[in-house]
Subunit: 555 residues, 2 copies
């Protein structure tokens, strides 16, 4: 009896050809683990959608083989889909301290916390998950406790970098364990999956510490209130604001739901060190002079509902922007958010604030490795096979090119997409088919029930509105008994367009009479006659194409 050769199969379900919803399956023998379980935010054309999660059809099919979900770090694009996936399969979740702290919050909100086994792992530790030996290697990123993962198998080591940068002077003084990666590389890494986000940027990413120097400079020269907006999860950034505030005798007000949450979790877990009494309640802010206050808030992406926007539009219950305030936007707009961020900057200036943002000062650094850091990672790990991950196609492509330029054979690089299966044995590495891996749209309570037809209709309605035409006809004889009535929304301002609506009714009557003369009784034909006649009429009159919904009732 011939034995099948031992295989590793790597299947990304998210994170490729996109920045978001990272999720990768590692299959080895008859077992699987999942690395990360993230969400992404909807594209512009996904109207009304709240979030997007990976398609887990393949996971569900292999429910019994899945042994664990292993997390690299606590960002939404790596943990955000957990509640949805854990509702379907209950497996243990492994992660580091802060990562699990954030996961706990999330599961609590979804009332799932008591059902799920969370297994905390220390950076440097190796855990045995059934047949998988999973080593957590300390990394550095824009959130503490980020790890790369080395998965040890009989065929060799799979190294997943997670999201990383190389910061020689990290805030928590816990440097990425380059030595361990080098050691693994020296022994031989079979496959590496590595972060491609910043592959288009030459040079290296600045140390997080450089932002602290800018803060210091600003704090030194400012007597007004200081308001800093940043990502809640960027705990090291928050730490640097805390340090600057402490040094300059300013109290801190924490604003924004996720900022309050993360600060609480990170402080409790020891990732954030805050001197006693430094944080004050927002209600006590008036007891201090302007030069004694720092407000740390969410909203660095211009999100309408977040702290900074609310302050800028006087929509915040307790805080407002005042003339003379110094506002630091300590973040870069994520692609697609440029205009919302710019809007908030404009609003802040209009309120008379002094606004400091990235194009004016070094108030932000990225959490992802640039070209020179990626080269170092490739050379230290020197894997046999390579899959660029965490990037749009342009990034994956450039990362593949970077690897090639470093001397890697082209055929050992897999520039693939979500759902592709990469199969590796001791003899070969190859593409081996596909599993389902589209985006699953979440809208309110609905997961996956909004598909292309619904989105197409929303787009149509968004562009030109709609016109509902209602006619009641008699069951016998098919005569018009009432109507036609016309209701429009999102099409024209009705009070100014009464004539247009009256003419439209005439058109509908004409279409119905025509059908009657032809002795046409089928509702589908009546409806399409109404729709066609109206469509042409409205386009000629307005050059718009509202959705037309004919409704026929019978009495």
């Amino acid at each position: 009896m011939g034995r099948k050769p031992t295989k590793i199969r790597v299947i990304p379900l998210g994170g490729l050809k996109e920045i978001g919803k990272n999720m990768t399956i590692i299959e080895y023998k008859d077992e699987m683990i999942i690395i990360d379980c993230g969400l992404s935010f909807p594209e512009d054309e996904m109207l009304g959608i709240d979030i997007v999660i990976p398609d887990i059809t393949y996971v569900m099919k292999n429910k019994d083989k899945i042994k664990a979900i292993v997390l690299t770090h606590g960002h939404e694009d790596h943990i955000g889909a957990l509640p949805y996936v854990l509702k379907k399969i209950n497996v243990p979740v492994y992660g580091t301290r802060l990562t699990l702290g954030l996961v706990e919050n999330k599961l609590r909100e979804h009332k799932l916390l008591s059902d799920v086994h969370l297994q905390r792992v220390e950076p440097g530790e190796t855990v045995q998950i059934q047949g998988f030996e999973v080593e957590f290697i300390r990394s550095s990123h824009s959130i503490p406790d980020a790890c790369a993962l080395a998965i040890h198998t009989s065929l060799g080591v799979i190294l997943h970098t997670g999201d990383f940068k190389i910061d020689y002077t990290p805030i928590d003084e816990q440097m990425i364990d380059l030595q361990r990666i080098a050691e693994l590389g020296k022994k031989g890494v079979l496959l590496m999956l590595a972060d491609s986000t910043n592959v288009e940027r030459p040079g290296t990413t600045m140390s997080e510490r450089s932002v602290g120097a800018t803060f210091e400079n600003i704090f030194n020269n400012t007597r007004s209130r200081i308001i800093v907006a940043t990502f809640a999860s960027n705990v090291h950034r928050v730490q640097q604001i805390v340090n600057a505030a402490h040094k300059h005798n300013r109290k801190i007000v924490v604003s924004g739901r996720s900022m309050v949450n993360v600060v609480a979790v990170a402080e409790e877990l020891g990732n954030l060190i805050i001197p006693d009494g430094l944080i004050i309640d927002v209600n006590h802010i008036d007891q201090y002079e302007d030069h004694e206050i720092v407000i740390i808030t969410t909203g660095s992406q211009g999100e309408t509902m977040a702290g900074l926007s609310r302050m800028a539009t006087s929509d915040h219950r307790k805080l407002d922007i005042r003339a003379g305030d110094t506002v630091i936007i300590s973040a870069t707009p994520i692609p697609g958010n440029e205009k919302t961020v710019s809007r908030v900057i404009n609003q802040l200036f209009e309120k008379g604030a002094d606004v400091i943002y990235e194009s004016l000062a070094d108030v932000h650094v990225s959490g992802h490795a640039c070209q020179e850091e990626l080269k170092l990672m490739h050379k230290l790990a020197s894997p046999k096979y390579f899959i660029p991950v965490h990037g749009e196609f342009r990034h994956l492509k450039q990362h593949a090119k970077l690897a090639e330029n470093l001397g890697m054979p082209k055929e050992n690089i897999f520039t693939i997409q979500n759902g592709n299966v990469v199969e590796i044995t001791k003899d070969y590495g190859k593409l081996a088919g596909n599993v389902p891996a589209g985006p699953v749209l979440v809208d309110g309570l609905g997961v996956g029930d909004v598909g292309n037809i619904v989105l197409r209709d929303r787009k149509h309605l968004a562009e030109d509105g709609l016109m509902v035409v209602v006619v009641t006809i008699t069951r016998e004889g098919g005569k018009v008994a009432a109507g036609p009535d016309i209701i429009s929304r999102g099409f024209v301002y009705v009070r100014e367009s009464e004539d247009l609506i009256d003419e439209a009714k005439q058109i509908v009557r004409g279409a119905l009479e025509h059908c009657e003369q032809q002795n046409i009784k089928e509702w589908s034909i009546l409806k399409s006659s109404i729709r066609d006649a109206l469509k042409d009429f409205l386009y000629a009159k307005t050059k718009r194409r509202p959705m037309i919904l004919p409704v026929i009732m019978e009495v």
Copy 2:
């Protein structure tokens, strides 16, 4: 009898607190001229809107005083609203060669060309427009024949820079006339209005010629087809592509409606020099080898309907992207277009093309002055008063700060918004009231008929779709004669949600019965009962809030 002192009033109707729809009124004694007449593109929340133009209420009120529209250059945000404004007031239009060439095209499309008097002016020339002496000063920008304007009055000179950069090595060897600006400044400029677009950028904008050097380098090293996407109006860019193609023995195919138009106009007017036989018909492209072809196309902003996108998605009738093609995107994404541009880049890579874009090589330079150039302009013109224009509020604010840092008294700088009136006499300069100046939305044939209510409805429909509920009741007795029928669009995928719709009908029946029991007959109350009951039911079931449209018919 006391005489009123002579006044200049400057009233921007567009272009302030926005990048787009530039339009400024200059009033002097009892006459007015308008500088520029541009459009802007809709903000994200202006669903379904085609373009946005300035509010010309004040212009219409002063119809008889308007003597001319004077154009600085031919970009859409400076000429795009002309057809709409000229339909309302017929005044002569002054501009340089290429500017009027582009205006002619536009007026022809709107069937207005024969009605409008276009007056061509040469750079350096001064024209008398009734009481206004308007001097056209050669400038440089990302379109040829751009001018600054000096308007000479008895009170002094108003200098409007138009959009400008300082290019010491312009492609057409016609440098911005810094000497004339210096001369005016030496004699004394009363008021300057200056371009603020790039005020956040330190240093100077690179010369257009630097892009040519990059092209040369790419052409030198490429044997495949070369496809270059850029702005059609950037004639100097096109000239450099033409030069490179000619030198490297490549024929040129021009693709995209506006590219074809602008190339024709610019060549006819002498702004673009193309050797005979260099341009070939797209249908003859197969007669040439790959290394003999350059395609110049529109679509550098990722516009779905433009040449490059169509090629990238195989939606172009005659051209397609092939593996191995070299595609140069010779432009920067305009804020807000980052994601569409990125999408096209990804699509091109997927087609196997090699894509060269701004983050990888110097294939674009801006047409606007950076900080050092602005400083030079301020120092040469040394105006008494200053209005920063052409920018979002953040830009206007930074530009005001730049002027202050150069020594200008704060009270002589007007950081204003559209509609504000700046009044200048020999004794003072001050803000003096407001005129109407909101955005006017153009949707199809409708100008200004889509207002907040229509947009709010479109947004509601876009997010959660709609549900139409139709009931026919008897005139006597108010009994249900037919229905309720329910139709939904953009809400849920109906086939999968039959149960939900059935339950919704039950809810409607319940609401109607309740009204009947209470002897309620008023339609408005019936409708709101239906709406409220359904709204709560649907939100509980789906966490969505579709628009609910109850329709009652009577027989």
